[in-house]
């Protein structure tokens, strides 16, 4: 029983084909709404948390406790004039923000969300190879950033794009290697070890306890992917004004802004799923979804704390850290995972 069937159950009077088609559409819309609401909540949380850390109050005039602040921001951004730079590369400039945004939303579609009371399993799309899907989709977002940087014909944007490419390339390999270790360990217990869902459901102990090194590497790689301090290379606001998004106005800029927070949330959910047990927990057959979100939000708060307290690392040191330290560490992690799997039979 999952949410697709549940919706179909409501729509079954329409017949099999139309019912399922409509159910799929409704499911996608629910996903979109869920992601948007979560992101708006996250940005609000970030503002409030940042204010708290910085001995301020944060938004509190618009709506109760400033809860409508993000709505006001969104409305304002919608109403802004859209400026196209004269010497832009038209197509890349225009599609780049959408690539970032839809890459993000697509990735959310493949996550397993666990159970929630009568709705059953909330997972949107099932796939036996969902891990490969997710990491393939994660590689789409940087393309949008690069297109934005190159397309806007601005030197700051170009340098931001170059920095973010260098960053992404150097952290991709350690990230994949640490995921590989998990897949290896999961393959001892399940035949579909590339499916995120079965990796989580068949685990005995959370993989973060078995592989603390893997958790560390993956966490750092996710910070780099989400691109916040100390790895906010693409934006580097005190050096490159606003990085690849320098020339963007209005809603297109908002898509980048959402993309930043979206990838923090996505990264936190991925870490929660892969390393700290995801939707597993007491009563997980009823409230697994809640567990996942709670774990995710705790990780989000940890990410915010790191963001607010770290200066930006220099680009050459960052690339060094990726290739010289994280890569060997993740190899060690891989070997350890092999030993644990084969030798001890975990």
């Amino acid at each position: 029983m999952n949410i697709l069937h549940w919706i179909y159950g409501v729509l079954s009077f329409l017949g099999h084909d139309i019912g399922y088609a409509l159910a799929y559409i409704i499911e996608s819309i629910i996903l979109l709404i869920f992601v948007s609401v979560m992101l708006i909540f996250m940005i609000y949380l970030f503002r409030k948390y940042m204010a708290r850390v910085q001995q301020r109050i944060g938004p509190n005039r618009v709506g109760k406790f400033g809860s409508l602040q993000l709505i006001a921001d969104a409305l304002k951004l919608m109403g802004k004039e859209i400026i196209f730079p004269k010497e832009r590369d038209d197509l890349p400039y225009k599609v780049a923000p959408y690539i970032v945004f839809f890459g993000l939303i697509l990735a959310f579609a493949f996550l397993p969300y666990g159970n929630l009371s009568i709705f059953g399993n909330l997972t949107i799309t099932y796939s036996d190879v969902s891990i490969i899907f997710i990491f393939a989709i994660l590689a789409i977002m940087p393309i949008g950033e690069v297109l934005a940087g190159v397309g806007s014909h601005n030197k700051y944007a170009l340098m931001g794009a170059l920095r973010s490419v260098a960053k992404d390339v150097s952290f991709e390999v350690p990230m994949m290697l640490s995921v590989l270790a998990i897949v290896m360990m999961a393959s001892a217990r399940t035949s579909t070890s590339l499916s995120l869902e079965s990796i989580v459901t068949t685990e005995i102990l959370p993989y973060g306890i078995l592989e603390p090194i893997g958790l560390f590497v993956f966490f750092i790689a996710m910070i780099a992917r989400a691109s916040y301090a100390p790895f906010d290379m693409g934006e580097s606001d005190s050096e490159l004004v606003s990085g690849y998004s320098t020339e963007y106005t209005g809603m297109r800029f908002a898509l980048f802004y959402i993309g930043l927070f979206g990838s923090i949330f996505l990264g936190s959910l991925l870490i929660a799923l892969l390393y700290i047990g995801g939707f597993n927990g007491p009563f997980s057959s009823q409230v697994g979804f809640i567990w996942l979100i709670v774990k995710g939000l705790i990780l989000v708060l940890i990410s915010f704390t790191i963001w607010l307290s770290m200066p930006r690392i220099r680009i050459d040191r960052l690339v060094n850290a990726g290739w010289k330290y994280l890569l060997p560490i993740s190899f060690i992690n891989l070997v350890l995972a092999g030993v644990l799997t084969l030798g001890l039979g975990w």
């Binding site: 940042m50 850390v53 910085q54 001995q55 301020r56 030197k155 700051y156 340098m159 920095r163 301090a229 100390p230 906010d232 580097s236 606001d237 005190s238 050096e239 004004v241 963001w307 607010l308 307290s309 770290m310 200066p311 930006r312 690392i313 220099r314 680009i315 050459d316 040191r317």
Partner: protein
């Protein structure tokens, strides 16, 4: 000049240019090959306007030079102007000036520390620094009614006497601030990423520093124990005990540490100043408000004081009139900035930002 180099124009509107510095940079990838600072975007003609105003009026232009540590500028101008006009301030006014100038120095260093964090991408310490600065500004407001450009001192004394409330406020500040200062200090120096951005970056050697006329915390961070408060004492700086922090490293971190140590020493000076504050008049009766514009001066005087940025010199040439004939300001940041093209040759763009931040640029003073 290589074809592959990118010409990048940084500023005048740029987040980490501390105002209106413009840099013409030639970049080889991320590495800066050539750098040319362009200044003058805040040239407000202070020197010309000083020639047009009475001695007592000119203080406003000095307030607005180093606008983060305005009291030190006032001390610098009055050191010269009072000697030219022969109206020495009484002892109480001198001690008040010492206390206020040191408070102002702390405020200036706090602004620098916060802004330096922002330059490196560190968001939070800025707010802590500004929260502490607010407390100093509250004291200033109590003393003279203004926060930043105070115009507190005047020829022959100070505008208003210290009352018990101000002294109590300063005492409270002295009690609470050291703990907060250590907190802010730890936020920076216990952060590995901060250390990696500052340690060994922008090394300035002693000889180069002296030959380029670099002064203040930048010079002391390069290993020269030179502080005008000690070398050529003005006010009552020869009657207080304090140490001159120096470092031999000469890098960004050394400049950072020197400035923080200076804040601690300033606290010591304030404490001693409060103890030694004598009773008596707070202004020279020769410089009563009605008399002020009739004061005439002659001769020439070059007064050097230690502002929060370095050696602040005011050179006044007088011709016997009620207005100065020529006023020339030696602004420390102007000289300190001229070292930037030397320091940032063949460094990464990110390091250049870190170096220019560590110079402590204030444009009111550079462009005047």
């Amino acid at each position: 000049m290589n074809d592959q180099w990118i010409e990048l124009n940084i500023g005048p509107q740029h987040p980490s240019m501390h105002g209106v510095l413009r840099l013409k940079a030639k970049l080889d990838g991320e590495i800066i090959r050539e750098l040319e600072p362009v200044i003058g975007y805040l040239h407000r003609n202070a020197e010309k306007l000083c020639e047009m105003g009475f001695y007592c009026d000119n203080l406003v232009y000095f307030d607005r030079m180093d606008y983060v540590g305005a009291m030190n500028m006032e001390v610098g101008y009055l050191e010269a102007a009072e000697k030219i006009l022969n109206v020495p301030p009484p002892d109480r006014a001198k001690w008040i000036r010492v206390i206020i100038a040191e408070l102002s120095r702390i405020a200036a260093h706090l602004v620098w520390a916060g802004a330096y964090g922002l330059d490196l991408g560190m968001l939070t310490p800025f707010f802590y620094c500004f929260a502490e600065r607010e407390k100093i500004l509250t004291i200033f407001t109590e003393a003279c009614g203004s926060r930043q450009e105070t115009n507190y001192m005047s020829i022959g004394g100070v505008y208003q006497d210290f009352n018990d409330k101000i002294i109590q406020e300063i005492k409270d500040f002295l009690e609470t601030f050291p703990k907060r200062l250590e907190e802010i200090y730890n936020l920076y120096v216990k952060n590995d990423v901060f250390l990696s951005r500052t340690k060994g970056i922008g090394i300035l050697s002693k000889e180069v520093a002296i030959s380029y006329g670099v002064t203040g915390p930048m010079l002391r961070a390069s290993g020269v124990e030179y502080d005008i408060r000690r070398a050529e004492p003005y006010l009552f700086y020869d009657k207080v005990n304090f140490e001159i922090p120096i470092s031999h490293k000469g890098d960004n971190l050394a400049r950072f540490l020197v400035r923080f140590e200076e804040m601690r020493q300033s606290l010591r000076i304030i404490k001693q100043g409060l103890e030694k504050l004598p009773e008596g008049p707070y202004f020279n009766p020769k410089a009563k408000k009605s008399m002020m514009i009739r004061l005439r001066g002659d001769g020439e005087y070059y007064a050097r004081t230690e502002s929060s940025k370095g050696e602040f010199g005011v050179y006044i040439v007088a011709d016997g009139g009620v207005k100065p004939y020529r006023v020339r300001v030696r602004s420390p940041t102007f000289k300190n900035l001229s070292i930037l093209p030397v320091l940032s040759k063949d460094v990464m763009l990110a390091d250049m930002i870190a170096i220019s931040g560590s110079i402590d640029l204030v444009f009111g003073e550079i462009d005047r």
